[in-house]
Symmetry: C2
Subunit: 466 residues, 2 copies
């Protein structure tokens, strides 16, 4: 990536000034919602509403056109009717805008590929970067820039989400808000991708230490080769989780009218993704859950998992799920088994899954956690717990051993609501909690798969195969 | 099933009197929790606490032993230490108790198979029915009988749940409570099943019109042949959904110590279940979600599904999921396509999935619902909706067309919480709402599979093959 590209993308994702072209005084209009979100969420740079009809919107001086502004503007958000977009883009070029986000729809997805082609040409020739058209905007939470008309995240996290569906981003933000979970640092709704594709964005963010995981909802790629090439480099430093839309015939037909994307052969995608070390999500929920563990934890040293539970049936189901999703259920070392047998009541099941039965006191959990975490035959831990007397104490024990032994940990804490203190303690300490055993297992399985990929890659690298 | 059996099981599930043997004054003890649940939840029959140490517990006269009670008692709940259980069971026999629930643990699951065998013999010889040991009890919500020490459901539903894991029942009750959803009518925690197995329970409830679906968590069967034989009869009148624990090697090992069950070969189970028309759940969530649609709806006439959405990406993903789970995405009739093209804005995608795009007004949904529900090429409908201005109006439209055309309907309503008015309107009208598209798709797929099974069975029947 050239220095100029980096500089331009910086202007897009952390601009010092932004113009909203098509800003509006009417409350329901996108041009109003976006301007309002930029102002209210605390963007600290200069904000220029642009609309020839007004002198002022939301207390800000409003300009007739971009060319009226004397200072240089980094970013332009375009919310004008589709017919006016091309003219506005040309103006942006004239005004030497570095980046634009075209919210307006009515292009490739509606069969109007020509205009998109023209915009794409302008971008290529001028070096101006264009996101969209037909998109929901960009969230850059560290810049407090919400050039965005969907739901607003309550909390900021460490995940970069690139999506061909703004609605999906809105859905996931709602999901996280409901649970008061931090998730996204940056969200880029790429829409029809007439200029910027995923490759450029992941390359730009690959060196950003704040981003711990990259999550992508993808319908189609214009430059598939480049995506795979860039992803292959990026996955060595950051995990990439992709949910691919349009796998089915009906789904592929729908992507055409949704973002004008050719979904392409799923078999080819699958093979290329695997080779590039991309983790493929099987569903929306699986994508979120996987990103959550990647955002907080680290790949384990190996794939041997321990299950600790006080719930018999759910423990059995968790073991079944581990086998289904390719996790290797550890055989505890003889020493661990001996110690557990010595210290736990005789009716506890000392094997893996380790069933502490019924309603154990926190001490029983402490014994189990201590022996299991310290066992060399254990690389990662899945805990299926609750409801417990002393649940908070148990949650704190889990955090202690997780921190001490640095073994990736996922918890399914069975609870009537998402806001118990136990869940809070775990989440705030970097341990994701899940609603169901299968969620914890699948997320852990993804972490193990990624660990294996990194190991293979580092072996390849050390052998000079790269 | 003999009249005597029916009469005895009636005494178990809707008794007119209950004794709690091992009732306790100490708050944390199971003997206290169970007695307290029976009293507080409004059981209207006679309640007899039994404990030689007390004269009164929770305001009720307490007896030294069962034999002290002069009236006949229908049901005895046994919560004494494992060593005392056999003696108590013999007393129950002497007192001509019809049914007993043995909560106490420490039998087959702890290797003590002999005592279980003796209890089983007593039951067989006397005709007294025994549930357990090592179980969480029974919930009979219509009798307001909560002989149960786990979480209590906030609302009553139409599902019978038979489970070898009390913890799992507790987990699911918590899940439903959190969402304020009705789910269970009856819950039977069968534990080690020394006497009563699933077969007897499903046979008893098969003629109960209030029960709309049967949900089973199963670790092992003692009499597999009988279960399949009874299930084959019952599935013709009521759907049975089974989650099988102990599929994996580690899982099977865990079932041994959990309920003393031999999990058996999964391949044999799979084949037998399929032949019996049993719907197999792949996970806890899938079991709940499937039971929810069965509890409220009816098998469709065919398998052609329509997807209606205002969320592009989630619509694409729903179509992908339909193909993955074997649902046939309908090709709308020419008439429907024509009418939709005529009535909807040009930027809506008139195909299946039907994408109403962005933020449609309720009228647009009404047009879509009317044409799609009335299309003969559509047997069932999946709607992926929200967030919407006028969401309540849309929810009411969905209910109207669902009622008019009687086509099974599942909704994924994208919302920040489970208690929006839209969700309430749908749920109260018999339309289950799901968190994610895959949940709706899998549930609908189960409904279609069941419909196909019923059709095949009725053809077999009419040909005299049965």
């Amino acid at each position: 990536m050239t220095d100029r590209s980096i500089d331009t993308l910086k202007a897009l994702f952390s601009p010092s000034s932004v113009a909203v072209i098509g800003a509006s005084k009417e409350k329901g209009k996108l041009g109003h919602i976006i301007l309002s979100n930029i102002i209210k969420r605390g963007f600290s740079g200069k904000i220029y509403p642009i609309n020839p009809k007004y002198d002022e919107i939301l207390g800000l001086k409003t300009y007739k056109s971009l060319l009226e502004i004397k200072n240089k503007v980094d970013l332009a958000v375009i919310v004008v009717p589709s017919k006016a977009v091309l003219g506005v883009v040309k103006e942006c070029q004239k005004a030497e805008i570095k980046g634009t986000i075209i919210i307006s729809a009515g292009f490739g997805e509606a069969g109007a590929h020509n205009v998109e082609g023209e915009i794409s040409e302008i971008a290529k020739n001028s070096g101006m970067k264009v996101i969209g058209p037909n998109c929901q905007g960009v969230i850059s939470s560290r810049s407090k820039l919400f050039a965005w008309f969907g739901p607003i995240p309550k909390r900021n996290g460490n995940v970069l989400f690139i999506t061909q569906s703004g609605a999906l981003a809105g859905m996931i933000i709602g999901w996280a808000n409901h649970r008061n979970l931090p998730l996204f640092d940056t969200v880029v709704s790429v829409g029809n991708k007439c200029d910027i594709e995923e490759a450029e964005i992941i390359e730009y963010f690959s060196s950003d230490p704040h981003i711990k995981a990259i999550m992508i909802y993808l319908e189609g790629l214009k430059d598939g080769r480049r995506f795979i090439e860039v992803a292959t480099r990026v996955t060595r430093v950051k995990p990439i989780i992709v949910l691919k839309g349009g796998k089915s015939r009906a789904g592929a037909r729908a992507t055409m009218s949704h973002t004008g994307s050719l979904a392409g052969s799923d078999r080819i995608y699958a093979a290329a993704f695997k080779q590039a070390g991309i983790i493929r999500a099987e569903s929306i929920r699986n994508m979120i859950n996987t990103a959550r563990i990647f955002a907080k934890q680290f790949p384990p040293k190996g794939g041997k998992v321990a299950i600790i539970t006080n719930l018999g049936g759910p423990g059995v189901i968790t073991a079944d799920m581990c086998e289904k999703y390719g996790l290797n259920i550890s055989k505890f070392s003889d020493e661990t088994v001996l110690k557990l047998k010595e210290k736990l009541p005789s009716y506890c099941t000392v094997s893996n899954p380790l069933d502490l039965t019924g309603d154990p006191d926190p001490t029983r959990y402490k014994i189990a956690l201590k022996e299991v975490y310290s066992d060399k035959e254990v690389d990662c831990v899945i805990i299926v717990a609750g409801p417990l007397v002393g649940g908070e104490v148990v949650a704190n024990f889990i955090v202690d051993f997780f921190n001490k032994y640095k073994k990736p940990t996922a918890v399914c804490w069975v609870t009537e609501n998402h806001e118990t203190k136990e869940v809070k303690i775990l989440e705030e300490s970097g341990i994701p909690t899940y609603e169901m055993p299968e969620d914890a297992v699948k997320s852990m399985a993804a972490l193990v798969t990624y660990a294996e990929y990194l190991q293979k890659e580092s072996i390849r690298k050390s052998r000079g195969n790269l």
